[in-house]
Amino acid sequence: MALDQSFVGRIYPATDPYEVGREKIREFAEAVGDANPAYTDSAAAVALGHPDVIAPPTFVFAITFKAAGKVIEDPQLGLDYSRVVHGDQKFVYTRPIHAGDRLTVTSTIESIKSLAGNDVLSVRGEVHDADGGHVVTAYTTLVARAAEEA
């Protein structure tokens, strides 16, 4: 079933702030086996010019994807989430996320396309800090595979 094109350009309200915890960053860095001290040792991060430990580049996806959930689960849109795979992912950073950041995400539906029977949905998530400064933008493309003919 084709998705409703009128959703293109729709902007979803900013999420409640997500507070970035030092131990959450450590847990993520350990889960990907990354021993870079900038993620776990605040002195090492400060020596690089950061206010505190920073998060690995893809850490923010957990936050933006949760925000994108509002879009994906919007029943009006009609996306069959059981058939969804992650197509593309891109991040454009203004600065790295660091421990103590309070981040909000504003999601926008950038495009809806139909390619070979698959629905292709692109969502942009703008991440801002408590002062309203831009931190990173996440571009996520999801592909809902066409249902098999019955």
Binding site: E27, K66, D88, F91, Y93
Partner: protein
């Protein structure tokens, strides 16, 4: 930002040190917890097969996280990465054995982007079982 590699010391074609990353079922469970992505295709073999996959597969975002380590380990400061994007082309199948799967990542400088900002484009290649698992895997990196 304090990258340890100087813009003046690299050119198009400069290779970054390649790395291999091992992933087994325990890795995926751990990544699920850390990332909050509990999709059962990443830990439940029965479910994965029911939806047409050959076996449990790694999170695409896990592969994306490993691939950029070739850049961040090289640059020193992870904040040197100002842009990073990938296309998920093939899944990394993770068998339930003591070996798991291996993702091999290499990278090289594809373009010198901006002499003022000292930015370069690094193209990454991520392979598993002889197949490319990421497409269009590119990072823009600000060097010293």
């Amino acid at each position: 930002m304090a990258a340890k590699i100087s813009y003046a010391d690299v050119e198009v074609g400069t290779e970054l040190p390649a790395q291999s990353f091992r992933v087994d079922r325990a890795t995926l469970v751990r990544y699920a917890g850390a990332s909050g992505d509990f999709n059962p295709i990443h830990w439940n073999e029965k479910f994965a097969k029911e939806v047409g996959l050959p076996d449990v597969i790694a999170h695409g975002m896990f592969t994306m996280a490993e691939a950029i380590r070739v850049v961040t380990d090289w640059a020193g400061d992870p904040a040197a990465v100002v842009e990073y994007g990938v296309r998920f082309t093939k899944p990394v199948v993770v068998p339930n054995d003591d070996k798991g799967a291996v993702i091999e990542v290499s990278g090289k400088i594809a373009a010198m982007l901006d002499d003022e900002a000292r930015t370069v484009r690094v193209d990454l290649v991520a392979m598993n079982e002889g197949r490319k698992v990421l497409g269009m895997s590119r990072a823009v990196v600000r060097l010293a």
